[in-house]
Amino acid sequence: MTAPATDAPLAHAGPEDPLVDARGVVKSFGSTQVLQGIDLAVQPGQVVCLLGPSGSGKSTFLRCVNHLERIDGGRLLVNGHDVGYEKRRGKLYELSERRIARRRADIGMVFQRFNLFPHRTALENVMEGPVVVRRRARTEAADRGRELLDRVGLADKASSYPSQLSGGQQQRVAIARALAMDPRLLLFDEPTSALDPELVGEVLDVMRDLAADGMTMLVVTHEVGFAREVADVAAFMADGVIVESGDPRQVLGDPRHERTQSFLARVL
């Protein structure tokens, strides 16, 4: 190959490279620009919490990271790759759906509304990715699935259908389903916003355990307490930009920006 080394596609981001590297990311829906230049880096092993009022673009940014939305400008590198593109000879080539799917397999995502597959049991939900995408043997995937359900405290619910589980249990199954792919990065899109208040704790406990195990996590949340306790970096978003980010104790305890101050005054 004669291509310069800098243009060679990276197999994976190295240990010191950020897993998410956003530079001036722009995204519009019609005439509304929901992301107006996002700069954010998530290092391996870090937990980064995105906070901010609704409509500030947090969820949209998270969805861009997993290519559920396509960015309109700037550059977004995940796991060392341009999201949705392949860089070759100084050009970005758009990827096929198949290649995009293969890249998504390394990134787990947990949704606000759980989105478990209702026609499959908890265990089958967890096995789906490994069996279909990674082509694991069913018995092997089932063993690992039971392990993961046990890890989120639901070993006894393996054969339950989602409709037979509480919201908190469904969300924990969803986390196990994401973990089954051995993701390098886990994305959480307001994972506790659809839960009854008394069920929020059980999901946050699981997330806390994952963080303690060194999982790299990008979390969109309204749980200020969780962010302050678990996050390595807290970023506050408003109107499509990150207005301040850094140590959560500083950002959430002693915010400098007036938007952050007024938001925290309202939610605390």
Binding site: R102, T121, E128, G129, S163, A178
Partner: protein
């Protein structure tokens, strides 16, 4: 005399819990019911004892070999037509939802044409295909070499024409049902599947279609019943089905009414039988939604009524 009796209550009165209950007599309901029953019995007797109904003839043809031959073709046409409709309909539905505009338009025009013209016209068209395309030949492209050539009427006999008409028509209806089913599935399901790394085809096959089946099965059951009954129309091109065969009989012996009764009895038997697989399928695809549907769907289908 005991002194424990309360002053206001006589000792003979039972407590409230023991009071006898007198049910309301629904006199109006009873009267109307009796009246309707009487009229129905009178009507059935009047019709059933009409000599023109000619029960002996009904009995004679009900189990005649000719009837069974027709019945076989009718069942075969229904089954093959529905298989064609469902397979083709799924393809057309996916085309209609495709991001390729050419596929979308072609699927749309197909549905528009086949739903917009009477099935009777379509049946006659396929029956008289020979008048439109007299011979069908397969040639090597860009040469004069003919690999195969035969008159259309020989290649497409009446039964095949009937199947083409029913099947191609069903494709259009099935496509709309499948499309509605696919579109009824929450977008979050697709996103969850994508986030696991499933390709669009895997997402459709493993996540969207199985859930859409719950929405698709009941109207498909209706389509099957309609298809079964529509086979009677292929008698206009002598499709060898039940209706064609019986029609051929009454064209000769003029016993129209008894032979129509024979056909009706068999259609009722078949439509009744069809409800069993439909109920089974509905329960099979209700897994995870209807909590009771997870176990032994067949036994539930056969014994559907259970007190709640």
């Amino acid at each position: 005399m005991p002194t424990t009796v309360a002053p206001h209550e006589p000792a003979t009165t039972p407590t409230d819990a023991q009071l006898p209950v007198v049910p309301l007599r629904h006199w109006g309901r009873f009267t109307v019911g009796a009246l309707v029953l009487a009229v129905s019995v009178w009507f059935l007797l009047a019709v059933g004892r009409n000599p023109n109904l000619d029960w002996p003839t009904v009995g004679e043809y009900l189990f005649a070999p000719l009837t069974f031959r027709g019945l076989f073709v009718t069942v075969w046409l229904t089954f093959a037509g529905m298989v064609m409709g469902i397979v083709g309909g799924t393809v057309v539905a996916v085309m209609r939802l495709s991001s390729n505009p050419v596929l979308r338009v072609v699927a749309g025009v197909y549905i528009w044409a086949f739903r917009g013209t009477p099935i009777l016209i379509q049946i006659i068209f396929w029956g008289f295909l020979g008048a439109f395309i007299p011979t069908i030949s397969v040639t090597v492209p860009f040469t004069d070499v003919v690999l195969f050539s035969a008159p259309t009427s020989q290649l497409v006999p009446a039964t095949v024409a009937a199947l083409l008409a029913l099947g191609l028509n069903e494709v259009a209806y099935a496509a709309e049902i499948v499309r509605a089913g696919i579109q009824s599935i929450d977008k979050g399901q697709t996103e969850a599947a994508k986030s696991l790394g499933l390709t669009p085809a895997q997402t459709l096959r493993r996540v969207v279609l199985p859930q859409a089946m719950r929405v698709i099965v009941p109207p498909m059951g209706n389509e099957t019943l309609t298809m079964l009954k529509t086979t009677a129309l292929v008698s206009v091109i002598a499709g060898q089905d039940l209706m064609s065969n019986l029609q051929a009989v009454y064209a000769q012996n003029f016993k129209v009414i008894p032979l129509l009764i024979v056909a009706s009895i068999w259609f009722l038997v078949l439509t009744t039988l069809l409800t069993v697989p439909q109920r089974w399928l509905e329960q099979r695809f209700g897994r995870g939604v209807d909590p009771g549907a997870t176990r032994r769907p067949l036994s539930r289908a056969l014994m559907p009524r259970r007190t709640r």
